[in-house]
Symmetry: C2
Subunit: 222 residues, 2 copies
């Protein structure tokens, strides 16, 4: 996984489709600049989840945008997705790594500073700082990190960092300025009248506020 | 898998524990003669499901009673269970077989005679005839097979057959007389005041009414 892959992650929510086609929303979001898609299906049965995974994989074919499956290793394996995103009540990371092999992406949600210390010892590819702000999309989340906590989390993590929870166009700059590598959104794209445009606007804000962690040494040939 | 493994299958339901310990109920049921345990967790999160799978695997250690995981290939792989039981809305059998390999047990629920024809072409180890009778345990089930349908299903199937749905001590003999190889129960053991005794009584009925499909040729040495 490239670090740039975490810049703008769309986390799907079928219940926000309201009759619109999930695949079409994902395609529009990717066209607008989403760099990662996390398919999340908390209520679908296995067969439905799998068929959505196949469908979204088809949408992402040729785009180099990784498909990440929320929670379900079986779906990730069956659809040969690029990886999984695991929360605190999902499969433990070490078990997931064993089942998925070393090449798949594993993202892990951290909810406290202690989690970040743990994450730094883990064989994972990125962390989701969750939630940055309180949100109505997920009701089972921990105490929000807030701006100060997100800044501390970004500084502490040895892995690429994605902020998630309550992030939208109006606060995305402030969140990116915490030094995180990207943001994940659900409703900001899923519920947007124009998902492509929403992704474009978010993408612009992110690109203008990326952390300058790698100071490139400029060599001048005179 | 031996055909005898399907004789008495306990399908678990944590919600029926009512404060009792699931592992203790399973242990008692196995002591009473259960030959297969299917761990079913329709509401638990992945981490809870996995820890229950580890726990039940420990209970079954050394008993030769196979641990079958309902629906979730990831849990089966992570816990190295003996197999999975798949319904019509779970992972398709061919995908499951690919992920699990040839040595794991795959059971498949059939709901119609057409399903049995399909099942006969599938790489599975047994079928669950579901439901034999209407039941309150599962509310998403198809039209019951009934006694006549179960007899036809048993005759049609090339795989070992387990009847499930509404079976208890009072009707187990009638169901076994349909020519099936075993029965699966949920509440009859999960809710029993004495799960070991319930399993014992069911086991006795089953053993007295096993199909005589293999007519052994007796050779007399004079």
């Amino acid at each position: 996984m490239k670090k740039e892959d975490v810049q703008l992650c769309l986390v799907t929510d079928s219940e926000m489709c309201h009759g619109r086609d999930l695949a079409a929303i994902v395609a529009a979001a990717v066209k607008g600049g989403c760099t990662m898609v996390q398919l999340r299906e908390k209520k679908a049965d296995t067969r439905t989840f799998l068929s959505r995974a196949y469908e979204i994989k088809e949408v992402l074919k040729g785009t180099h945008v990784p498909l990440i499956i929320n929670d379900r290793i079986d779906i990730a394996l069956a659809a040969d997705a690029d990886g999984v995103h695991l929360g605190q009540s999902d499969m433990p990371v070490e078990v997931a790594r064993k089942l998925l092999g070393k090449d798949k992406i594993i993202g892990w949600s951290v909810e406290t500073m202690e989690d970040i210390e743990k994450a730094n010892q883990m064989d994972i590819d990125y962390i989701g700082i969750s939630p940055v702000f309180a949100t109505s999309t997920k009701t089972d989340t921990a105490h929000p990190f807030g701006i100060t906590g997100t800044r501390q989390a970004a500084a502490m993590s040895i892995h690429p960092t994605i902020g998630i929870g309550g992030i939208h166009r109006e606060n995305a700059r402030e969140v990116m300025e915490c030094g995180i590598d990207g943001i994940a959104v659900v409703s900001e794209i899923m519920l947007a009248a124009d998902p492509e445009q929403a992704a474009k606007e978010l993408n612009k804000i992110i690109n203008n506020n990326l952390p300058q962690t790698t100071q490139t040494t400029q060599t001048f040939f005179i």
